[in-house]
């Protein structure tokens, strides 16, 4: 577990530094996730200590969003003045994005499966 935790923190720290140093349009944790994925794929094995600590963190991940989420209590004046366009925009665009992503992905997967009749169809 400890080795796994150290790996996670090291990747986040390194990625944080890179993102700040080179003004990348990515956040440290997201870049760290990408780098660790590449590292794990290149290594081609699984590390039990890392898998264990990751499972614990991912299982509890929703909890970690709560402190920031309670921040909605600090409603700015802008938010109060424009609540209708904001609410409509948030709700509408979230549903549109969900539908567009899933439908386009499903459609393209189907097209590709049809174009390659010999291969196993995508799930």
């Amino acid at each position: 577990m400890l080795v796994g935790a150290a790996i996670l923190l090291a990747f986040q720290l390194g990625a944080d530094w890179l993102a700040t140093r080179f003004h990348l349009p990515l956040s440290g944790p997201v870049l760290g996730m990408a780098a660790l994925t590449v590292a794990l794929a290149a290594w081609g094995r699984t590390l039990l200590a890392l898998t264990k600590v990751s499972n614990v963190l991912l299982k509890a991940m929703p909890l970690f969003f709560i402190p920031a989420g309670v921040g909605v209590i600090v409603l700015s004046d802008q938010l109060r003045a424009a609540w209708l366009p904001i609410a409509a925009s948030l709700l509408g665009s979230t549903l549109v994005a969900l539908a567009a992503t899933a439908m386009v992905m499903k459609g393209v997967a189907k097209l590709l499966a049809r174009a390659r009749p010999g291969s196993k169809p995508s799930p």
Binding site: A5, L8, L9, Q12, P25, L26, S27, P29, G32, M33, A34, L36, T37, L40, A41, T51, S54, N55, L57, L58, A60, M61, P62, L63, F64, F65, I66, P67, A68, V70, V72, I73, V74, L75, S76, Q78, A82, P85, I86, A88, S89, L90, G92, S93, T94, V96, A97, L98, A99, A100, T101, A102, M103, V104, M105, K106, A109, L112, S122, P123
Partner: protein, 232 residues
Amino acid sequence: MKLLWSTPLPGVLVTILAYAICLRIQRRARGHAFANPVAWAIALLVVLLAVTKLPYATYFASARLLHFLLGPATVALAVPLARELPRLRRLLWPIVAGLLAGNLSAACSAIFLAKVLGASRSVTLSLAPKSVTTPIAMGISEKIGGLPSLTAVLVITTGVIGAVLGPWFLDCLGIDDPTFRGTAMGVSAHGLGTASIYQESSEAGAFSGLAMGLSGLITALMLPGLVKFFGL
């Protein structure tokens, strides 16, 4: 009381308690999507803060330890992601197409709805990047002329909306494949959507984490041009 709140104890404790209670309720509701524990725990704590008149800054400082763990948890998404790489490679083009469609439609519909309903320029620009993860969204917002602090609140609210409505909405659309469900959640509701869908299956969580990361990149590259297109 003030002295007590200057330590991580009360903040972490009330947050864990609120989450534990809401997890219980979700289990009681047999995992119904609208019983999303994050949404209800946030609501519970907002009420608690309002009733006790505790300043949000004091609560956040005390609960910061939990907030900190968001970083390592995001990096930890690499583990299921690496496991899903073979499948991911097979689904490369569907994913690329889905990500482009999702990011483009999320930003366009957010800008369009805000503009039509009369939001000011700065509010509209703060709304534009709200589907991507908080630090990236705040950076984009600043770059295109929005208000980063307003964007932060909008991003979290989007995440809650996506986590609550997402799984239900995808059911309505008949999308049951975990790879499609995960990708859609990651595009539309960033980390909060990812954390929620991971509880459904680690496979969906892996695709959601990937979609969240790539969406941050795509939206960051796409939005400046899109803002010009909308004449903002």
